[in-house]
Amino acid sequence: MADVVFVAVLLAFFALAVLFVAACDRLIGPDEEAFADRAPGTAERERRAA
């Protein structure tokens, strides 16, 4: 019985961690929003400049 409880505790923690990842991702916003202001070919130019 104790084994079931501790394994369940671990699974619950990792499930909450996945939800936390989703919440953090929502907080920083989608990639599309962050890249919305980019002109075509910008990435390649920036990579070369770096």
Partner: protein, 571 residues
């Protein structure tokens, strides 16, 4: 005493030499655009079959969410396997002493402890089979440290990449850290340790008759390899309960110095790696200097408290003077060969890093000496902290420092040419609030739960220190024991297990989210109004921010524990 100053000088010199050497090598390991690292062909030949076997495409990169989910998936699978292994060790091979399976609550605590790089040992001597030690605990000594390094590298990439959607590949970073950094370092260190008398065999315990005619049980086991990664990966879980006070783990002054260097080498080297990957070495040296000042300062404070001695022992008639035949100082809980200075060096270094190995009883330190070790951990293991975790912890404080500087001058804060905006600051706030919430809440609950309170050895402020120390080390994944507290109870096994999980994986999630957010941003060229972060002024600001945040969070509980004990006990 001169020998002890010489020892400290040798340690500092070794760190100053190895930080750029090791850090420069690590930078090439994690960023191939900096050049081919040494042994690339040899290590690639080892890594390729691992990638093929695990279905990893080493050329692919992951978005921060995928990187984080890979970390979580790896952690979940490995903790379940370790839990099962500990429960079933009585039926598994390499168990010459016929140890039974570990009970459920202790297996949970131990599996979580080694997964999270805490390596808190609620189990005592005579519990773990050799298979559990090698394939369970020592395996996690490598991979838990490598996971910390992977997160740090991803964080550096987030800070330094421009308009990038990805942070690297978690599996590649994990494998490379093990094969190219930890294994070679542990292999070389194990050879030196064995040459100095650290044992490494597969013997069961042997009963021998001593010169005095008594019988004594002499344990055996594969120690040297585990000892090397125990220190090199900032794990700290010893083969024996006595840890580095045991002569089989730490037989002489050479091994003592080597073990302290091993604790500090990779965390300090990561600052150089950061500077190299940022293409701005000053940034790395600023972080190094801040960490170094904190580590050395706390080391000298702890050593001074212990070398001064204990008025309690003096009142009881003990001679605490330093003379030719004894080292003097507070010798309670210390081996004669180690003494208060050796304990101060080791104890402060082990709590400044996330190592947690001990060579003396921290419960027997003077009140303010014990408080010093506690405050080291309350800093958040950033001076210099664990493998990778020390660097990203300090860089989180760096983001807070530039935010505060930005508020003072009325500019949007920037760090390494990246604007630090509301989402990043919210995540920084979560990272900084998490330890305060979990350490103080669980320590507070332990003071009112009767079974938790009864597990203390001492009443009054020292008892409070025992409880606070346990949760502080747990959240910060240190693993050292203040002693005194009977931690193998339902309450402490379970709550400390949860605190360790949140302290490790819960704290890594906002770190990787910040990296994901910053990696997407464009680089802002520096102007005359940009706050320079590669200067001594910024190092001072960073140091001040750490002291203020940690002071405001923990001062009340430190005052009620070690400070009250010092004042009331007339130390």
């Amino acid at each position: 005493m001169a020998a002890r100053w010489l020892e400290l000088g040798a340690l500092v010199a070794a760190l100053l030499v190895t930080t750029p050497l090791l850090g420069g090598y690590m930078a090439k390991v994690y960023d191939p655009s900096l050049g081919r690292p040494r042994g690339d062909r040899f290590f690639s030949a080892i890594e390729r079959p691992i990638y093929r076997l695990c279905g990893i495409n080493p050329d692919s990169e992951q978005r921060w969410t995928v990187y984080t989910l890979s970390l979580l998936a790896f952690s979940l699978v490995s903790v379940l396997i370790l839990y099962a292994q500990l429960r079933l060790q009585g039926h598994l091979p390499l168990n010459p002493d016929h140890y039974k399976g570990i009970e459920a609550k202790l297996s949970f605590n131990t599996a979580v402890s080694f997964l999270t790089n805490t390596n808190w040992q609620a189990y005592g001597d005579g519990a773990m089979s050799q298979l559990s030690q090698m394939a369970g605990l020592a395996f996690h000594n490598f991979v838990s440290a490598a996971a910390g390094a992977a997160v740090a590298v991803a964080f550096i990439r987030g800070l330094t990449r421009r308009r990038a959607r990805t942070l690297g590949n978690f599996w590649v970073d994990l494998v490379r850290t093990c094969t190219r950094v930890l294994l070679p370092l542990a292999f070389l260190a194990a050879l030196v340790l064995m040459s100095q008398g650290v044992i490494d065999n597969f013997h069961a315990s042997r009963t021998v008759t001593t010169v005095a005619g008594q019988t004594q049980s002499i344990p055996g086991g594969p120690l040297a390899g585990q000892e090397a990664i125990k220190e090199g990966g900032q794990n700290g879980g010893g083969f024996f309960g006595a840890n580095s006070a045991h002569p089989f783990e730490n037989p002489n002054a050479v091994t003592s110095l080597l073990e302290i260097w091993l604790m500090l080498a990779i965390p300090f080297a990561f600052t150089f790696t950061f500077g190299r990957m940022a293409r701005d070495q000053k940034q790395g040296w600023v972080v190094f200097a801040t960490m170094f000042v904190m580590w050395l300062g706390m080391l000298l404070i702890l050593t001074a408290f212990e070398a001064r001695g204990s008025p309690k022992l003096g009142a009881a008639g003990a001679d605490q003077r330093a003379v030719a035949t004894q080292s003097g100082g507070n010798m309670e809980g210390k081996e004669v060969r180690i003494g208060p200075v050796g304990c101060g060096y080791f104890g402060s270094s082990t709590t400044s890093t996330s190592d947690g190995a001990v060579n003396c009883a921290h419960d027997s330190l003077t009140p303010l000496g014990g408080g010093t070790t506690m405050v080291n951990m309350m800093f958040g293991e950033i001076s210099p902290g664990g493998t990778g975790s020390g660097l990203f912890g300090m860089l989180i404080f760096a983001l807070l420092a530039v935010f505060i500087a930005g508020l003072m001058v009325g500019r949007t804060p920037e760090y390494l040419g990246k604007k630090i905006q509301a989402p990043e600051m919210k995540l920084v706030a979560i990272y900084i609030l998490l330890p305060a919430i979990f350490i103080l809440a669980f320590a507070g609950a332990s003071v009112v739960v009767r079974t938790a309170l009864n597990a203390r050895l001492n009443d009054g402020p020292h008892g409070l220190s025992e409880i606070v120390y346990a949760f502080t080390q747990g959240f910060n994944n240190n693993g050292s024991a203040f002693g005194g507290l009977s931690a193998n109870t339902q309450w402490y096994d379970t709550t400390l297990g949860l605190v360790m999980l949140v302290g490790r994986l819960g704290a890594m999630i906002p770190v990787l989210a910040i990296a994901g957010s910053l990696g997407r941003k464009r680089h802002i060229p520096a102007t005359a109004g940009t706050f320079q972060t590669g200067t001594p002024l910024f190092a001072g600001l960073l140091f001040g921010v750490v002291i203020i945040v940690v002071g405001l969070t923990y001062f009340p509980v430190v005052a009620l524990g070690p400070v009250v004990e010092h004042l009331v006990g007339h130390f």
